[in-house]
Symmetry: C2
Subunit: 413 residues, 2 copies
């Protein structure tokens, strides 16, 4: 892997994640880094974004005293690795400094963490950071001592005079918004924090500025993608949740039983879903082919459609749920499972149908505890292609919405 | 009304809405002001936000030549009033200048527009502007000649040197992001545009700066709310759509037929909905009390729940739909109508139930053309409070999602 080659032979790269903010701009009592997106705290997404980068050896999360236990339970629940939780200070800079201090100054220390050559500083509320930009800032920090991601300004920046009038406006093209991640040679930023004033620690907002002022290091500025934005307001939580849902609905796995009807319907559905919605891959395969399923899991598929020619049978669905559970697919994200039934008995009375439905609802409620959202879809054949289109539209809506209140419902295409 | 008193005796206030942008930052081929939110173009929301302010006499929308017909059809479809469409220029400043030019310099002109004392400049992609901030900038413009909304900076602003390194960072507290709306005494901004250079017209981004430079007017800066943000990236479209859905789901109207069961269920549902979801007002009333319904409409309710003790009957639902249509409630926003059925005949066979369902789907598809989303909800009594809770959760989910793909479905509580 390119990143590993570029970083080979190096002392480790660590990351510090300040997460001590109070969330007052959000207008919420829960600090924004702990707000739930699809049931999971925002900070867990950000931690995961760093954790999956295998050349980052340690991730130090800095939280305020009252959130230490919350943070530890998040780490446990979502199985995060290589994390150290540190108590924050009164301000952002003091929190980051606390995070840096836990790396030992000498190798004689009993601390299990190794002092890194390069340290990444990232915000807990920027969950969509990609390996690509992390690598860029780390490599630039190795070369220049410090580096940070920037973005074009969205609004013109103005300076106001004492009476609240416009003093001057800045020429937009000359300036950039300083975003995260940033990276530093550890000694450079550590020294800067040691030498800076209390005023800096209390009122400063910019690590790059500390490196410039106290370590005479002109940071390299690197254009980042729009995804690096900081979740600040309630609207940003909405946006983040939509982006996560969008990411989760990119890939669908279709399974069928061996009946001819089911296989045929599966292929037609496959074709229609592919042309109508953004679907990266659909696999149609026989039910118990675990190898194939395993491949789908490693491809991070979070949506499953089981087509049954037989009448509603919870057993086969249960089988798939067991596989999903063993593969721990639903630990990080809610999995959507749509059970499609082709043939509904003509003779069943509506009330016994209702009884059966109540059973499915109960079943779905149980399975939801495993973070798997089960919906039913009855195929009521009329005009074939019209029915397929309708099924594809409903499936696509269920996958995109991931609505936990509609589990156990039996929809009709 | 306070605003009218403060503005009384004044020459009119007009607004210019530059909407010529290409949307390249959005990564989409449709310019962002024409992207659909719940089926309706973003610009229509912004136009509506200005149009509902009755002391704004004229709204000038400036669009590029190729979008003039699109804009006119939007105005027609959504019934916007007091709008003049003007062709834009190559840049933002040139477009705004074009918008200002259509106000006649003398009253002898045959133009039906009157030259305003104060002109508001606002962005087409800031749909959530409130009357409050519009009034503030207009009053400040009357006093100071120019005024604009500002917001605290979210990120630190940095200046880069020629080699792409950090030159310096700005002290965040001293600067503000310049947002919209802005307002000017018409003569001040018009003169500034007449005197400014081609360089200003081609590369400038800030109207306040033109007023400062060419009309010696220090604009008053006014702190705005976070809602003023500019829809710039795809995530902003997601956020805007979520905010609109959230706004639309604040109020629910419950109607019941006169059967005792339905009225009782309505009251229980009322109570549960009120305690479980954010609902401003629920009215339980008899079905044909048009006066009461009319009041609900003027309160801008976009969610209706009809409870029927009888078996599924489309006639009563149709009646409500006719009332909604006459009141033009669904012109601007999709209306959700949930038809709740308490008693399902025990004897109906599942297949005839399916037939009926197919009928409801067909019906819902027709009604959707009127921008009314119809869903069915069967109440399958088991434990009463549990059923009510389940019904409230499903209703709340349907209202919040407004998912057009799930119309005509019969959900079960």
């Amino acid at each position: 892997m390119a990143a590993e080659n570029l970083l080979s032979g190096a002392a480790p790269v660590a990351a510090v994640l300040p997460a001590g903010g109070s969330g007052e701009r959000l207008g919420s009592t829960t600090p924004k880094q702990f707000c739930a997106l699809l049931g999971r705290p925002l900070i867990s997404y950000t931690v995961r974004a760093l954790e999956r980068v295998n050349w980052i050896s340690d991730i130090v999360v800095v939280v305020s005293l009252e959130n230490i236990e919350t943070m530890k339970s998040i780490i446990k629940k979502y199985g995060h690795k290589r994390i150290t939780v540190v108590e924050g200070g009164m301000t952002r800079h003091r929190s980051i400094f606390n995070g840096l201090k836990i790396f030992p100054e000498s190798t004689l220390s009993s601390c299990p963490l190794q002092k890194p050559e390069v340290v990444i500083i990232h915000d807990a509320v920027r969950p969509f950071v990609e390996e690509d930009i992390l690598l860029k800032v780390v490599l630039a920090a190795k070369e220049h001592g410090a580096a940070g991601a920037i973005r074009p300004l969205v609004s013109t920046v103005v300076a106001s005079s004492a009476d609240g009038s416009l003093d001057h406006s800045l020429e937009r093209v000359r300036y950039r918004a300083s975003e995260m991640p940033q990276a530093f040679l550890f000694d450079i930023i550590y020294q800067a924090y040691h030498q800076c004033s209390d005023y800096d620690l209390d009122y400063g907002t910019e690590c790059l500025q500390l490196a410039l002022k106290y370590s005479k290091t002109n940071a390299k500025l690197i254009e980042g993608s729009p995804d690096l934005w900081k979740v600040t307001y309630k609207r940003d939580l909405y946006a983040a949740e939509s982006i996560i849902k969008d990411n989760l609905s990119q890939q669908v796995c279709v399974t069928t039983d061996m009946k001819e009807d089911a296989v045929q319907f599966g292929f037609l559905l496959h074709k229609t879903l592919k042309s109508e919605v953004k679907v990266k891959d659909i696999s149609v395969f026989l039910y118990k082919n675990d190898n194939h399923l395993q491949n789908t899991f490693s491809g991070q598929c979070y949506n499953f459609i089981c087509i049954n020619a037989e009448k509603s049978d919870i057993k086969e669905t249960q089988q798939l749920i067991d596989i999903l559970e063993n593969a721990k697919i639903s630990v990080l994200h809610p999995v959507v499972l749509i059970s499609v039934h082709l043939n509904v008995s003509e003779n069943m009375s509506f009330s016994s149908g209702m009884e059966e439905l109540a059973g499915i609802k109960e079943f779905a409620r149980e399975v939801k505890k495993k973070n798997i959202l089960v919906y039913g879809l009855l195929i009521h054949y009329n005009k074939l292609q019209e029915t397929i289109n309708s099924a594809a539209a409903i499936i696509s809506a269920l996958i995109k919405d991931r609505n936990p209140e509609l589990i156990g419902q039996l929809l009709v295409a």
